[in-house]
């Protein structure tokens, strides 16, 4: 495969397809500006920009190089800090960080610069006028930096540096910015000419479902990988590289998001960032809940890579989207060869990290019914950004004549798989909210789940917060007052 690394088109040898991008940058390319802080996608010191050609334009996103496997990046424009630094002539983002004393030890700084660059390139120059716009602007900056840990500065000077770039210098675009010594047009032309992945058996990146079927036929035991934000960790943390991967992220048929009557159809390879953007203008109840959970799912870097299908198929009990999808009664289209079947998400999980997926079978699409239910979600974690749920709870219901109906409660972090609280649902069904107190809910929950105590929280805490939140959603106060910040 070929990539454009900064201003240089390169061929990547097949032996490197299953290697992390960061190691390749530092060791093979001798580009040490990109740092390894944690090797696990938690700190962002290794942030680089990945640009892909979309509809004739290059769209750049911040990505953690430590857990991105090279095979995933065929025909991309990879931009590292080395590429945008030209002597002492600084980019506006870099100059702002210097001016506001935004670096101390400097080790996180390369990642901070690149995360800020991604935001800077993608944010239109818009003078901020209303309080709401200013607040949203600060939120956007924090969102852009949500995956970058700094242990020295306390972030305040970094936030000030980012804010100083607004509103006048924003909206550089790679065209205007001329970041790597190439114009936007040159970059587009080079990317269009790059050869795709050679698709070696050990790392196949099909572009169509037909190619995917061939890949599966050739290597039926290969591991499916999509965003790789969890599988990449196996490589760097457990030193466990699978024998073969089939990369679903670029399969054209898995990329769609569309509304079709009463349903939202989400292709399995749609990333969290793409879904969030699609739903951003939408004022539907469920869209608010989606935005709320997507906003605290991993970091910006993780959201740019991770996919909805991957989140479901990975079958982690602490995955963030399944509780909401379960409560919304989502269905999955599973594909194996030419055969496809539709199943309820509620029937998908069969045990800890086990699903009904047969060998060679993958999730093609997620179908989410759209209705006028009340939709709520809350994620409980020690930290707001880039943390894993201690518990995640979603509830979907209707009030008919002040009585609860069609109640569905999805839980994450509460059992070996994401689950519906079926007994509690029955308990609540047909009741008036005023008849229910948090003690009853707690007792009901205990019949459904027996969570674990672990490094994130105790079993008692998990049960208690879920009961507290459910009781609050059903309380009269909830309708008067907006809930949490997340």
């Amino acid at each position: 495969m070929e990539i454009l690394l900064n201003n240089q088109a390169l061929t990547v040898a097949e032996e490197h397809y299953r290697k992390p991008l960061l190691t390749w940058l530092r060791e093979q390319q001798e580009l040490p500006a990109t740092k390894e802080g944690c090797g696990a996608g938690d700190c962002g010191a290794c942030t680089v920009l990945v640009g892909r050609l979309q509809n004739g334009k290059v769209h750049y996103e911040a990505v953690n190089a430590c857990i991105a496997l090279l095979g995933n990046l065929s025909q991309c424009h990879l931009v590292t800090l080395d590429g945008i630094s030209h002597g002492n002539k600084l980019q506006p983002v870099q100059q702002a960080l210097v001016d506001f004393h935004g670096s101390q030890c400097g080790f996180c700084t390369p990642g901070i610069v690149m995360a800020m660059m991604a935001w800077w390139l993608n944010t239109p120059a818009n003078p901020l006028q209303t309080d709401k716009e200013i607040k949203q602007h600060r939120h956007d900056i924090e969102e852009a930096l949500s995956g970058n840990l700094c242990r020295c500065t306390g972030y305040h000077p970094i936030l000030k540096a980012a804010a100083s770039l607004a509103p006048f210098t924003l909206g550089g675009g790679m065209d205007k910015a001329d970041l790597v010594g190439l114009t936007g047009i040159q970059i587009t032309e080079i990317l269009a000419e790059l050869s795709p992945s050679t698709k070696p058996l050990a790392y196949q990146q099909p572009y169509t479902e037909q190619e995917l079927a061939q890949a599966i036929n050739a290597m039926p035991e290969a591991t499916f990988i999509s965003g790789g934000t969890d599988l990449g960790l196996e490589v760097t943390q457990q030193l466990n590289t699978r024998d073969a991967y089939i990369d679903l992220s670029q399969v054209a048929e898995l990329q769609h998001i569309q509304r079709d009557g009463d349903s939202l159809h989400i292709g399995a390879s749609v990333t969290y960032s793409q879904l969030s953007e699609y739903l951003s203008g939408d004022s539907h109840q469920a869209s608010h809940a989606w935005q709320k959970i997507l906003n605290v799912l991993g970091s910006r870097q993780v959201r740019n890579k991770g996919t909805i299908g991957g989140n479901i198929a990975n079958a982690s009990p602490i995955a963030d989207t399944p509780p909401l999808l379960l409560a919304l009664q989502a269905k999955l289209i599973l594909q194996k060869g030419t055969e496809s079947r539709e199943i309820e998400l509620a029937d998908f999980y069969i045990g800890y990290r086990q699903t009904v997926l047969a060998t060679g079978e993958y999730i093609r699409e997620i179908i989410v019914p759209i209705d006028d239910h009340q939709v709520h979600i809350e994620k409980i974690s020690k930290r707001y950004e880039d943390d894993i749920s201690a518990a995640c709870i979603a509830m979907v219901y209707k009030l008919e004549d002040d009585h609860i109906s069609q109640c569905k409660i999805g839980l994450g972090g509460m059992a070996a798989t994401p689950v519906l609280a079926e007994q509690l649902q029955v308990l609540l069904e047909g009741k008036m909210p005023a008849e229910i107190n948090s003690k009853d809910i707690l007792e009901g929950l205990k019949k459904d789940v027996s969570p674990m105590s672990d490094v994130r929280a105790s079993a008692d805490y998990r049960l208690q917060v879920c009961a507290n939140i459910l009781a609050f959603w059903l309380s009269p106060e909830h309708h008067k007052q907006a809930g949490g910040w997340a």
Binding site: G39, L81, S103, R151, G154, R383, Y384, V455
Partner: protein, 781 residues
């Protein structure tokens, strides 16, 4: 050099605006940081034959090694060498002060994963894979994993020590009110972004050059020499910059440097050893957890009359620096408050964990936590606002200025600081607003707290309070400065550069501060105890002064004036009858055979501590300040946010206000992490479960206070003759974060309608906060 470089002649511009000390200069490496050119140890280009080392250990927490079969490690692809303790030619113990830290475990294993062997391979991946192949058998013994177990077994790493002032028993009896406190304080992972790393290059004659990410190159040099069994003059340690240290690279960097050096010399090949994050977290020491207990006697107005305190430091499996750390906790149990009678005892308990070590504040924060809980608890007991009770208990000439260790507190502007901060933060007005908010809010509840900090400056080990510098002026007028301190992001080299520029009267860009190297300035102290600028700044000034005086005398002789009539400023040299540029003067001096290089040396005056009497003057002075924090807590989940923080800090006459403010903001957020979301969890098997960024949560960008006002106390000057009368700044602001914990307790107290004073151990995770709110409301969980 037969021909001198061309230099700029003098300019006749105005030199009166020249101000380098006191100016907010950018970090000396800021441009290198943002362009990715700043080199850390792992970025140094290595020779093509460089090999990679990794360590392997025992997967048992406590026990004796019965068999270490490393044959499969040897057989693994790419393996070049495997070493155990038996392969160490010199010292096997690298304990920094007391023995107890084996380079590689010989027989006894004291914590999960303790390194037993090191493997050298062609690549890092090969070395890591090979390290997993060992078969180490261990006869396990019952581990000690909490205070009770250590007390039952009566296992300490050092003897206990007590501070005594007055007749505590008698004063306690006389006090109208008493209360008891017990608080559990969690430790803290340093989470420096750059993990532990060393690169060793063998030299001729059996020597070695070591690049080590260390706060203490001289100690690394000494330990490498001892481990190799060679004299120190054959070992050079080089440290340009660390990607964060925070105390975690004071003693903890040595092991990896020693192993890399040993393998390099044994194999006559360059060797790099870099720990992965998860191993770094499991194998290096952290901030000590403490269990503090106290009985407090006080009167009905909330004035404290007597304190009897037990500080139990959980030290891990060896002494490391724990003696001094628990001492410093004891020295800060008073914080800013006068204790008329006090007995403070510190214990150093053994645990089957990694040996805990230095971390910003060095025990001070853990001691100060007890003081602040005392003040909050006493205030609630007497029904007054905690701020009023804090003010009533401050050191003052009226109440007393003598600490429990019998040092007189001098230069203590705390009344002024709190007065100004109460005004600027509108403490009393916000107190009322918060009460109103809480009455009208079903879900969120807010809390507010002001806590002061008085932090003693100096190493409590007297001999460490010394420093050296080496300054070279070259014939083009450029200057190289080297000193004993290390740069870990705190801006030390920037401040040193400013001091050298001021003393030599040149612009800042004429100065380069080079990597810390043991062959330039020898026998240095660790860069620790907030002392970097205080010590090395003075040494640098002394060196520059020597050179400047030589130059002034030379000008005076050649131009018929007195040395004091010769001014060096902004790169110009001015005497009554003429002027030339600094570079011109330097060339003239060189041709006249004047030495343009000098060392400088400094030792801190006045300090001493008599441990037998538990009395003395361990601190040259105190750095002071105060913080006000407002938090908002979710009654449903215990999750919280800091809404606003106001800090007023006394940096004396600040050498670089921007750098000082950066230290304050960063320390506050780091301290906030310690007390809130950063939870070290050890399993029953002694394994650290919070061993990655996924399970151990340091503050992220959104955790920074939404409103963050930090100011330096205006028109301040250290009453002691410190470098330009500035004050140390590295550690003290860490403890402003205690105001976050105190504000959380306030919010919880408010959530319970001010009926029940909540217990809140740390870290105050959302879970602990939720349970505390239940307790405050009188519910049981």
């Amino acid at each position: 050099m037969r021909k001198l470089p061309q230099v700029e002649p003098h300019n006749i511009g105005n030199t009166s605006s020249f101000k380098v000390v006191g100016a907010s200069k950018a970090h000396e490496s800021a441009i290198l940081h943002v362009t990715g050119q700043a080199r850390y140890v792992d970025d140094i280009p290595t020779p093509a034959n460089c090999l990679s080392a990794y360590i392997g250990g025992a997967q048992v927490t406590s026990g004796k090694i019965t068999k270490a079969d490393l044959s499969k490690v040897w057989q693994a692809p790419g393996v070049v060498d495997v070493i155990t303790a038996d392969d160490i030619p010199g010292h096997r113990d690298i304990g920094p002060v007391f023995p107890g830290d084996p380079l590689l475990a010989e027989e006894q294993v004291n914590f999960m994963g303790q390194p037993v062997f090191a493997v050298l391979a062609n690549t890092r991946e090969q070395a890591q894979q090979a390290a997993k192949q060992a078969n180490i058998q261990i006869q396990a013994s019952e581990p000690i994993l909490n205070l009770e177990a250590a007390q039952t077994a009566n296992r300490t790493v050092r003897p206990s020590h007590s501070l005594t002032k007055g007749d505590v028993a008698a004063e306690m009896l006389k006090a109208p009110c008493q209360l008891d406190i017990e608080q559990q304080i969690g430790g803290q992972e340093h989470f420096y972004l750059e993990g532990q790393v060393a690169l060793a290059l063998p030299q001729e004659d059996g020597g070695v050059l070591v690049y080590s990410s260390s706060q203490h190159p001289s100690e690394v040099q000494k330990l490498v020499a001892e481990v190799l069994g060679i004299p120190m003059h054959l070992v050079v340690v080089d440290m340009r910059r660390m990607g964060g240290g925070f105390g975690g690279k004071e003693t903890q960097a040595a092991q990896w440097a020693c192993l890399a050096a040993l393998l390099a010399v044994r194999n006559n090949k360059p060797v790099k050893l870099r720990l992965g994050r998860s191993d770094d977290m499991q194998l290096t020491g952290k901030r000590h957890g403490f269990v503090n207990q106290a009985q407090v006697g006080f009167d009905h107005s909330g004035q404290i009359l007597a304190v009897q305190a037990q500080l139990n430091g959980l030290c891990g499996c060896s002494a490391d620096l724990s003696d001094a750390i628990v001492d410093r906790a004891m020295f800060h149990t008073d914080n800013a408050y006068y204790l008329p009678a006090a007995k403070i005892t510190g214990h150093r308990w053994f645990q089957n964990t990694v040996s805990h070590t230095a971390f910003r504040g060095f025990g001070g924060p853990q001691g100060m936590m007890l003081a602040e809980q005392m003040l909050d608890d006493v205030a609630r007991a007497v029904g007054r606002d905690p701020l009023s009770v804090r003010l009533a208990n401050l050191y003052s000439p009226q109440r007393g200025m003598t600490t429990p260790y019998h040092q007189q507190v001098e230069g203590f502007p705390m009344q002024r600081i709190i007065g100004e901060l109460v005004d600027s933060s509108q403490y009393w007005q916000r107190r009322e607003e918060i009460t109103l908010f809480n009455e009208g809010s079903q879900r969120m509840v807010r809390g507010l707290a002001l806590t002061p900090v008085k932090f003693g400056i100096s190493f409590t080990a007297q001999f460490l309070n010394q420093a050296g510098a080496l300054v070279h002026v070259y014939t083009d007028g450029s200057v190289q400065v080297n000193h004993g301190g290390t740069e870990m992001g705190q801006g030390l080299h920037t401040k040193i550069g400013q001091i050298a520029a001021a003393e030599l009267g040149v612009e800042l860009d004429a100065i380069v501060v080079t990597a810390s190297r043991t062959d330039k300035v020898p026998n240095t102290s660790p860069t620790a105890a907030s002392s970097g600028t205080d010590l090395n700044g003075q040494a640098t000034r002394a060196a520059c002064e020597t050179i400047r005086q030589r130059l002034q005398e030379f000008v005076a002789e050649t131009h018929n004036c007195t040395p004091s009539q010769v001014q060096l400023k902004a790169g110009q040299v001015i005497w009554p009858s003429g002027q030339q540029s600094f570079a011109e003067l330097v060339q003239a001096a060189y041709l006249a055979r004047i030495s343009l290089s000098s060392t400088g040396y400094y030792r801190t005056p006045k300090i001493y501590y008599d441990r037998d009497k538990a009395a003395g003057h361990p601190f040259y002075y105190y750095t002071c300040g105060a913080a006000v924090t407002e938090v908002e807590v979710d009654r449903l989940t215990g999750m919280y946010k800091v809404l606003r923080t106001d800090i007023l800090h006394d940096a004396g006459a600040s050498i670089n206000p921007a750098i000082d403010i950066g230290q304050i903001e960063g320390a506050y957020v780091q301290g906030m992490g310690w007390l809130t979301t950063e939870e070290l969890v050890w399993g029953d098997d002694g394994r650290l479960q919070s061993n990655s960024g996924a399970t151990y949560k340091i503050p992220a960008v959104g955790d920074t206070p939404a409103e963050f006002n930090v100011a330096l106390l205006e028109n301040s000057s250290n009453h002691e003759a410190t470098i330009y009368h500035s004050k140390a700044v590295g550690e003290p602001p860490f403890m402003y974060a205690i105001s976050v914990w105190s504000a959380l307790r306030d919010a919880i107290y408010q959530a319970g309608n001010r009926q029940c004073n909540p217990q809140l151990d740390t870290p105050a995770t959302p879970e602990r906060v939720l349970w505390a709110m239940q307790q405050a409301r009188g519910e049981t969980s």
